[in-house]
């Protein structure tokens, strides 16, 4: 029974089921839910990209919202000021995000643990500072509004919320598959090895610096992809998208869901986005609640929800084995 539920085939069937539900959902629900789930998917991509760093590589990046923000700003500036279409925006945003993460990577890839954390925080704030102070380019605190959802060229237009939902869903699935392949590749496995014991991996002949560097750049690129869709989804970008609070929120998505599982952070993103929208309708004290969720998560589920469930299942299995033996 458990093999069916949690074995490789079971997983695949489970995934197909989840995506099938997501695919048939729009006509069955209200537009409120369609836009909310779109938002969950966008932040799901972002949370998964942070998981590449935090969960799989042991690199707790605190500036990850920065890449998201850079891509969102590129789309905003190009589409409002130069009326650029979807593809030029997409390409420029991804290229620029990769360039920035490649430069940042040079500064952070050698540092570990707490140092990594503090440096990425400071670097993330540099991007925030640019968004906030470089007024001629970014309009500062006012942000950039009026980003229109584009035609993608094919007979598809993102103006319709349901089409936008489907496109986001497809992008989410593609990103999930790519990231899953990335962490399951030989490169991903050696990355996990470096997370567990860098000195050992170095002795075995792996270039640990290069592994960390490339992972950082890849994670930045995926963060950029979610930023592009956020700009089109929201129609508005502001420095709030990449401030420290945003990076904290993102961090919580990964921790709450379960670092090192990819699915967990996506789930965590869904939960946080849902709560944020749901709670904001009733009270303005969202930050307070976010902080409390944070503290409770660390105290009671430090491994995240997905890992908690997996642990329970494993424990159940062991119990079953013992009973069978006796």
């Amino acid at each position: 029974m458990k093999d069916i539920l949690f074995g490789a085939k079971g997983k695949l069937v489970g995934w197909l089921l989840v995506f099938l539900i997501l695919a048939v959902l729009p006509p069955l629900t209200t537009s409120y839910w369609v836009t909310l789930i779109t938002q969950m998917l966008i932040f799901g991509i972002l949370a998964m990209s942070l998981d590449l760093l935090l969960g799989y590589s042991g690199m707790p990046s605190f500036g990850h919202a920065g890449f998201f923000g850079v891509a969102a700003y590129v789309v905003a500036i190009l589409s409002t000021r130069y009326h650029a279409g979807f593809w030029p925006c997409l390409l420029t945003a991804i290229v620029l995000t990769i360039i920035i993460s490649a430069v940042y990577g040079l500064l952070v890839a050698h540092s570990k643990g707490v140092y990594f954390l503090m440096i990425t925080l400071a670097l993330g704030m540099v991007l925030w500072g640019l968004a906030f102070r470089w007024v001629t380019m970014t309009k500062g605190d006012n942000g950039i509004s009026g980003i229109l959802r584009p035609d993608i060229g094919l007979p598809i237009s993102l103006k319709d919320p349901i089409t936008f939902y489907y496109v986001t869903l497809v992008v989410f699935i593609v990103c999930l598959v790519l990231m899953a392949l990335f962490v399951r590749s030989p490169f991903g496995h050696s990355m996990k090895g470096i997370r567990e014991s860098e000195s050992r991996m170095r002795i075995l002949g792996y270039d640990t610096w290069l592994h960390r560097y490339l992972t950082y750049v890849v994670a930045g690129a995926f963060g950029g992809i979610s930023g592009i869709f956020w700009a089109y989804y929201n129609g508005f970008v502001s420095p709030h998208d990449l401030e420290l609070g945003a990076s904290f929120e993102l961090f919580l998505m990964v921790i709450l869901g379960g670092p090192g599982t990819l699915v967990g952070p996506a789930l965590g993103a869904g939960i946080i986005v849902f709560l944020k929208n749901f709670i904001s309708a009733y009270t303005e004290r969202w930050l307070l609640i976010l902080g409390v969720i944070y503290i409770l998560t660390i105290l009671y589920a430090p491994q995240g929800l997905v890992n908690l469930v997996l642990d329970l299942v494993k424990r159940g299995e062991k119990k079953g084995e013992v009973e069978e033996a006796s």
Partner: protein, 284 residues
């Protein structure tokens, strides 16, 4: 010439504030390996509490003491009740402080609202002095003086007292210090409270210059981090040198290229990291 002198003095006074903020951060990290994300919140809450006390009593000194002490107690409670549960696990500890930073930020918004305030400076320090045609507020000079005194006191505490020696032992080797009979948890708790005290002290001192407003916590925190990264974690000397560097660079950056002001901090940090990854005075 006048511009240069004014900006240098501005930079020095900002560096003085940064020292108050980051010396605690650096020492807390040095002893307990905790990256305290709530450190900027201590600064903000200290300034707010100071503001409330000063507007009621018109006594700056009282505001300074009450603000700093209340935050020291809050810091101690945080350490005793929550952080203590995860000894030497940097990620959970850091995330706990992150949760607290969010809670503090929202509580401050709830209590003091969203308007920016300026703390009144003490009466005898209002006004400016004229240095060869350069007019400069006395209060800023006073902040520099206080920071120098605090730095000397901290240095004496660290180098000349028994508690300071125990502290240094705990920084160097947590386990060995415990092994030879230093009460490391006590030293750590004390350290944490002192760091919180200093941050809140800096908040009240900085209030008349920079004011206090929602968001000041997350605005100063990265600066304190840059100071700690540049100076080296756990080093008082590093915190002092780093604060001066960052204070001056930030100030000249803001004056010369206002649009890229955060960016100008980035360069010295990158250079230091490239040459010495542990910071100027940090040890491995």
């Amino acid at each position: 010439m006048g511009f240069l002198l004014t900006q240098t003095l501005n930079g020095l006074s900002f560096g003085a504030l940064l020292f108050l903020l980051s010396s605690g951060l650096s020492l807390i990290f040095g002893v307990m390996k905790i990256v305290n994300v709530a450190h900027g919140s201590y600064y903000m809450l200290g300034a707010y509490i100071g503001l409330s006390v000063i507007t009621r009593t018109h006594n700056f000194l009282l505001g300074l003491i009450v603000g700093s002490l209340i935050i020291a107690v809050i810091g101690l409670a945080m350490e005793r009740i929550f952080l203590r549960k995860f000894p030497l696990q940097d990620l959970p500890q850091m995330m706990l402080t992150m949760g607290f930073a969010l809670v503090f930020r929202d509580l401050a918004l709830l209590i003091w609202g969203g308007d920016p305030y300026n703390l009144p400076s003490p009466a005898f320090l209002i006004g400016s002095i004229d240095l060869h045609g350069v007019v400069f507020p006395i209060y800023r000079l006073f902040v520099i003086l206080i920071a120098v005194i605090v730095a000397i006191l901290l240095w004496m505490f660290n180098e000349k007292t028994l508690v300071g020696a125990k502290l240094r032992a705990a920084v160097d080797d947590y386990e060995m210090a415990g092994g030879v009979g230093v009460n490391v948890p006590l030293v750590s708790g004390l350290m944490f409270a002192m760091g919180a005290f200093l941050a809140a002290f800096g908040g009240v001192m900085g209030g008349p210059i920079f004011g206090v407003y929602p968001g000041v916590d997350f605005e100063f925190l990265p600066l304190a981090f840059v100071v700690t990264i540049v100076g080296g974690m756990g080093s008082l000397k590093g915190a002092a040198v780093g604060s001066l560097l960052v204070g001056l660079i930030d100030n000249f950056g803001k004056a010369l290229v206002p649009e890229l002001s955060y960016f100008t901090l980035f360069a010295p940090m990158a250079i230091v990291l490239a040459i010495k990854p542990t910071g100027l005075f940090g040890r491995g």
